[in-house]
Symmetry: C2
Subunit: 348 residues, 2 copies
């Protein structure tokens, strides 16, 4: 797939980038967790755009399930256009941004800090405006990312959040599970080496729906964004539940659906949706470690076994990144320079 592009190169750097963050970020994560415990927040507010917002979707499940903290997403326009922000007493506000440059994300952080909330920046640039405005910074250590479509900064954002959650309330076994991630991501890359041949079939696809649930709702959102950014095919993300409340009407025979279905508590519901998709004649591309589910898909993108569900979004996104890159290649598009996009987007 898209060999020689920066997009391809950077997504293959993910095992090394994750290993680097694990080695260099734990102390910082523990120190921030200490400050969070002292502040005893009642809620977490995520401030982010694009792929970083998708990392924030992971944080909702991560902090909700593992740390029992409710998570909200800031609406930056309340701070910038309306200038009537909500009162965030006792909140932990986490700004997530690859570049740390977008003015609206920094504006939310600045006002939150002014109100006395605890603020943490998760960014690849510890010298960025976002990092400077926050009380604490958790750097991604991902190295420079030059392709416009994020890959290694997305997975390192997920890892930074998982390390923070574990530092807040995890066990030694959880740290062991984190340590196994680089090799699981490397295995996901190996298992999908023949991806271009399997993308050919979708050369003329005109739309996709991407479905996940629970922890992997984030994966569905991120892969739908990757597909749009580098192949220019519209792709809409849904939770398996929300999809049943209306959008399922879209499905006619041949409609291509990318299903993200790793093992875990959400697997049963996603697999149940597969039965409905089969009934309606959808064409299913599946990302899973479950052989039985992969066998039912038209195109199978396998995952390595043995990854805990709470960490599966770091691994499940990888075959999808490869597949989106391969689809760009078979369509003759350059994934490094999507039309109309720049690496850093400034919004207000």
């Amino acid at each position: 797939m898209s060999q020689g592009t920066r997009f391809d190169q950077e997504l293959r750097e993910q095992p090394a980038a994750l290993a680097r963050l694990l080695a260099q970020g734990r102390e910082q994560a523990e120190a921030i967790a200490e400050a969070i415990r002292a502040a005893a927040p009642e809620l977490v507010v995520i401030v982010a755009r694009g792929s970083s917002h998708n990392a924030g979707r992971y944080a909702q499940y991560l902090f909700g399930i593992r740390n029992r903290l409710p998570v909200a997403y800031a609406a930056p326009s309340m701070y910038t256009l309306y200038q009537q922000p909500p009162v965030l007493r006792r909140a932990l506000v986490i700004g997530i941004s690859q570049s740390g440059q977008s003015p609206d994300v920094s504006a939310v952080m600045e006002e939150s800090r002014r109100q006395g909330a605890l603020t943490v920046a998760v960014t690849n640039d510890p010298a960025s405006p976002l990092a400077r405005v926050a009380d604490h910074c958790l750097p991604l250590h991902a190295g420079p990312e030059q392709a416009v479509a994020a890959t290694k900064t997305y997975t390192t954002q997920l890892l930074a959040l998982a390390m923070l959650s574990t530092a807040l309330g995890g066990t030694a076994a959880d740290w062991d599970a984190l340590a196994a991630l680089p090799s699981a991501v490397a295995a996901a890359l190996r298992l999908n080496a023949d991806i271009v041949a399997r993308a050919e079939r979708y050369r003329y696809a005109r739309q996709f729906v991407v479905i996940g649930r629970g922890y992997n709702l984030a994966t569905a959102w991120e892969l739908a964004l990757k597909i749009k950014e580098i192949t220019y095919i519209i792709a809409e993300p849904y939770s398996a539940a929300e999809f049943r409340h209306g959008p399922v009407a879209l499905i006619e025979p041949g409609f291509p659906v990318l299903l993200v279905a790793p093992s875990g508590a959400a697997y049963g519901d996603t697999a149940a949706l597969l039965a409905l998709l089969e009934e309606r004649g959808a064409e299913v591309i599946a990302i899973s470690d479950q052989a039985a589910l992969l066998a039912r898909a038209r195109t199978a993108l396998p995952l390595p076994a043995g990854v805990s569900e709470w960490l599966s979004p770091l691994v499940a996104v990888v075959p999808g990144q490869l597949w989106a890159g391969a689809l760009a290649t078979v369509r003759g598009q350059d994934p490094d320079c999507p039309r109309g996009l720049r690496k850093v987007t400034y919004t207000h």
Copy 2:
């Protein structure tokens, strides 16, 4: 448009349904506001699916800007599949559902109440499971809704939330603005009477993007859902800001974009995006009360003047409902019975 269908009939009932809720719901809204003041919540949690979730998106801006309360969306799978819900001390939990039947929405309400949070049901059926499990119920008084695609229950949900926000911290002038809504919605219906002729052009459209910002991000989401439900054309909603962070790559000459741009604080940013869309050759369908913006669109769906921005989502959605119904008609589809959907969806 789709004359004689229940969808058409129910959307034309909106002025009457809104007037009924204004007349019959204020006392209840005041009583619930009293209970909310006593509980002094630190955050609002919205529990909803489908169109009701889109009403919840309005609530984020409404309660955030006008009542300074942060708003989060519950992830029901944490309660049902993972059984590890977040701790909601000091939260106001609002369940929104036309039917009040979906088990996952009730499950979140039940657990929230068990934890001691204040729970409010906003539903068209005050005898439903959702209403029974909540501390308080704010009924919609919308009358029976039989078309699968929600219209009058969506706008009455918005109104119920706006009444609650006003009862919590509004002025007499705000109640006057609410009282003017039925006639503004009637005006929006009149201004777009010739809708079928203007939908013809999109008979063979294969995709749409729907864009709003701030209060009207909810309108963009709801109209994208209407289009998918009754025309089976994929339509993806975005905020004007989020759209610039990746999905703008989709836009090539002729790409149809529905732009929701009523007057107010968010207008400038949405109008600025129009310039970018023009540059890229997009085909713009605009919903606005601004003549200058409508003149730049290929298809203009006018709004009456004089509606405050915080209430504009109740009016701005109406031409879009009409337009989606007209598009179903020119495509020979029955908006009352979308394939694969039932009026009540049960998810877990």
